[in-house]
């Protein structure tokens, strides 16, 4: 007994030296310490891995442009051109220029053949080759870049570049390195200019419509009767697909409610709530809120959908699909107006090669690149200077009204804009999805 007690106590003494609880605490402390040390190292290296905002002094002077709501911003002067930054590509170190590009442009051969061709063949194509990573949507891109990922060139759409800027992630371009910039129509490029500093932050590259592609044999309406309101028609129950983008859902609801062209980017709280109610009523007709256009194209050609929200390339894929050869497929031009978008390229605040990255952006803005964009992807190019003559498939010009400027302007099309009240759109759309 004594021996057994001694043994137990002896063991207990050992136990006290390193109890389980102590061991776990010790391991935890060591792991935490190691992790914090690693985080600290990351910060020193300039990677904003944590959610804390970096000290303002760490940002380069160009990135300290105040956020849109700041009243201390220097007043924009319309008379004199604002003095932008000056980059010297020659003095920049060699090394790859990383581009955060849309996943649709991931066919390297196609894009290299036209989009970045001038840069690849230029003086820096070998010294600073382009290296690509791919994004799936604007929100995901913003989340990644805000979390510390630092590509030099990013491809957000017009409604989102201000979010990148507000997070201190962008710097303006040196427009002297963008020789074709003036060829972009003023109406398109204006949205990429900072409203307070007048500096160019977003160089538009691709534009296009967002509208319903539908089967004329199932949805029997004349082109004059085309309207977003088919979403409320119970004859099409479970036969319509809509893009899962929150703002788009509410904009469509607002256009249905109006029954005529109204700017869906300028909705009041009441209009947003009414749009939400309308889209909840439309839910029986909506079979999918799709996240990938490829999926909705497959659903359409396989008969699961009679109408679906697509971009121009989606319509073109459906129209030319083998299963649709005996079916009349139309790209709707609703009486309330199509939705439309512009995407373009921005420069990261911490770009190591701002000059060379700008030259890469310039390559995407050539008329040849713009024409090839239409031929390969059926999108319109932001660059429109002499582009139509270069487009090889002339059928695309009429199919997407590329020769009709009115088709790209209200009341026929509503290009997306920066939404100061985007949260209201998103919250309302979340209710539609969860209803």
């Amino acid at each position: 007994m004594l021996a057994a007690r001694d043994e137990k106590e002896g063991f207990g003494m050992e136990h006290e030296k390193l109890s389980r609880r102590g061991f776990v605490a010790l391991t935890g402390a060591a792991s935490l310490g190691a992790l914090l040390a690693a985080c600290g190292g990351g910060e020193e290296a300039g990677a904003p891995a944590t959610t804390e905002a970096p000290p303002e002094t760490e940002a380069p002077p160009e990135t300290e442009a105040p956020p849109a709501t700041t009243e201390e911003a220097p007043p924009a002067t319309t008379e004199e051109a604002p003095a932008g930054p000056k980059f010297d590509p020659e003095s920049e170190p060699d090394g790859p220029v990383e581009v955060f590009e849309w996943v649709g442009y991931d066919n390297a051969e196609d894009t290299a053949a036209f989009m970045w061709k001038t840069y690849d063949e230029g003086p820096y194509g070998q010294k600073s080759p382009l290296k690509f990573t791919f994004l799936e949507n604007d929100q995901q891109a913003l989340a990644k870049v805000a979390s510390g990922y630092s590509p030099e060139v990013i491809h957000p759409c017009i409604a989102y570049w201000r979010d990148f800027d507000a997070a201190g992630l962008l710097q303006p371009f040196d427009t002297s390195l963008l020789p074709d910039y003036e060829g972009i129509p003023e109406a398109i490029r204006a949205a990429g200019v900072h409203p307070e500093t007048g500096l160019v932050y977003h160089v538009p590259f691709d534009i296009g419509f967002s509208a319903l592609t539908y089967r004329a044999d199932k949805i029997q309406i004349s082109p004059e009767e085309e309207s977003w309101s088919i979403l409320l028609n119970p004859e099409y129950e479970g036969k319509i697909g809509i893009f899962s983008d929150d703002a788009a859902i509410i904009k469509i609801g607002a256009l249905i409610n109006a029954g005529e062209p109204i700017n869906p980017n300028k909705l009041t709280t009441e209009q947003i709530q009414a749009a939400k109610e309308t889209m909840i009523k439309a839910k029986p007709q909506i079979r999918t809120f799709w996240g990938s256009q490829t999926d909705t194209v497959n659903d359409f050609v396989n008969g699961n959908l009679w109408a679906t929200y697509t971009w121009p390339d989606g319509y073109w894929s459906i129209k030319n699909h083998g299963k649709m050869k005996d079916v009349e497929v139309r790209y709707m031009s609703p009486k309330e107006g199509r939705l439309a978008w512009t995407c373009g390229l921005v420069l990261h605040a911490e770009a190591k090669h701002p000059g060379r990255a700008t030259l890469a952006v310039a390559a995407t803005n050539t008329p040849a690149a713009s024409a090839a964009l239409t031929d390969v992807y059926q999108y319109g190019g932001a660059q429109q200077n002499g582009v139509q003559e270069l487009i090889q498939n002339k059928e695309l010009i009429t199919a997407f009204s590329l020769d009709d400027p009115a088709a790209f302007a209200p009341p026929k099309a509503w290009f997306e804009e920066y939404l100061p009240n985007r949260k209201e759109y998103v919250d309302a759309a979340a209710e539609v999805k969860a209803a």
Binding site: F23, T27, A166, D246, K283, R287, F289, N302, N304, K433
Partner: protein
């Protein structure tokens, strides 16, 4: 005697302590990486998510960005209050005016009583313990079971609340419960057949059952889309047989809650066969012989011997499906459509979609984690109590 005996006893004891200490140290050393991983990749993220959920951290780095995301700037329980909503009550037996409306606290009390009954039922009554456990389980699960009805599912109970996400959570619970119960119901006979029906090469048969799952999950889900589509295998067959008009396909087959449950079932059944098979395979067969010798019928032997022994495996299998199904994101995204939207998708949207509102996403994540931890805790308690083995 005593002076000579002491060193004889102490010498080997010291050696024994030394060995134990070494064994203990090496045990700690071996488990240290796992503990470190647990702390760094489980507890630390939870700590940060909790901070986000109460407004102590936010995604937006600047005030301007925060205005867009609508995130809170300091400690607040507002997001939690929004999540829970107001006027939450459970409507039993449908949504009609005849439905029985119960306040949440009543439902909560009943729920806790049933959980306690399931966990401690056998202790309460030696004679009716098994019935208490079984009855509690049935009453816990029944309100969350669903029946396909068109593109939606009929439920015994519906949550009515001002909180959109809470309603969505309830809907996800019902879908996860239905798929889990059916998965267990389908897996049990197969496991039973493998354990008792096959004499030779049973492990080869087990491999055959699992073989389709050596291919990509996404590939298999897309295959279901081809089978269940409006012009898919099933509908085409119905058209060919003249049982259905081509313009009037069975639309609930694809992009519905039914589809999500079906695909989850398909995905999980093979994995459930394993734990149930192991529970049955490890059973002492002499107990079955003893039951027969004592005059019990096969059904009685199954109910009194086999089922209680397999109960821990069944419960573990249920949770094995239920927990991942609750946070399921991929399957409803691919085949759920508009009606099969689940809680996991809502969490994803908050983190990488919409306004990037990580604070709201964190509230949803913490709530889901809490429910899963509660279930895991009560289940482990249930299994420790004997898991119905003596019922």
């Amino acid at each position: 005697m005593a002076t000579t005996a002491t060193p004889v006893i102490e010498a080997p004891r010291r050696r024994k302590w030394g060995r134990r200490a070494r064994e203990q140290s090496s045990g700690y050393a071996l488990s240290a990486p796992a503990v470190a991983v647990l702390l760094v990749f489980f507890l630390l993220p939870i700590y940060f998510i909790v901070r986000y959920s109460i407004g102590l951290d936010r995604f937006a780095k600047t005030e301007a960005a925060a205005e867009l995301t609508g995130e809170l700037a300091g400690f607040s329980t507002e997001l939690w209050r929004n999540f829970l909503g107001e006027g939450a009550e459970i409507a039993l037996l449908g949504k009609s005016s005849a439905a029985l409306h119960l306040p949440m606290y009543v439902v909560g009390i009943v729920f806790v009583v049933l959980v306690l009954g399931a966990v401690f039922g056998k202790r309460l009554s030696a004679r009716f313990g098994g019935w208490i456990v079984g009855g509690s389980f049935f009453l816990l699960l029944a309100p969350f079971m669903t029946i396909p009805a068109g593109n939606n599912l009929l439920r015994l109970a519906e949550l009515e609340s001002g909180g959109d996400f809470l309603r969505l959570f309830f809907r996800s619970v019902t879908m996860a419960t239905t798929s889990s119960v059916w998965a267990v119901a389908m897996a049990f006979p197969i496991a039973y057949f493998l354990a008792f029906g096959i004499r030779k090469s049973k492990y080869t048969w087990l491999l055959v059952v699992i073989a389709p799952f050596l291919t990509s999950y996404l590939l298999r889900v897309f295959a279901w889309k081809l089978i269940l589509g409006d012009q898919g295998l099933i509908n085409s067959a119905l058209f060919e047989l003249g049982l259905r008009d081509p313009d009037n396909a069975l639309s609930f087959l694809i992009y519905s809650q039914f589809t999500v449950i079906l695909v989850l079932l398909y995905a999980w059944v093979p994995f459930l066969i394993l734990p149930i098979f192991i529970a049955l395979e490890n059973m002492d067969r002499r107990l079955l012989e003893a039951g027969t010798d004592l005059g019990a019928s096969r059904l009685q032997t199954f109910r009194k011997v086999t089922l209680p022994i397999a109960a821990p495996g069944i419960v573990a299998a249920f949770l094995f499906v239920f927990i991942p199904s609750m946070g399921e994101y991929i399957t409803p995204s691919l085949v759920g459509g508009n009606t099969g939207y689940m809680f996991g998708q809502a969490i994803w949207v908050q983190f990488v979609g919409g306004t990037l509102n990580w604070q709201t996403g964190s509230v949803l994540s913490i709530f889901l984690l809490g429910v899963v931890l509660f279930l895991t805790f009560t289940t482990s308690k249930f299994l420790r109590q004997g898991g119905g083995a003596t019922a």
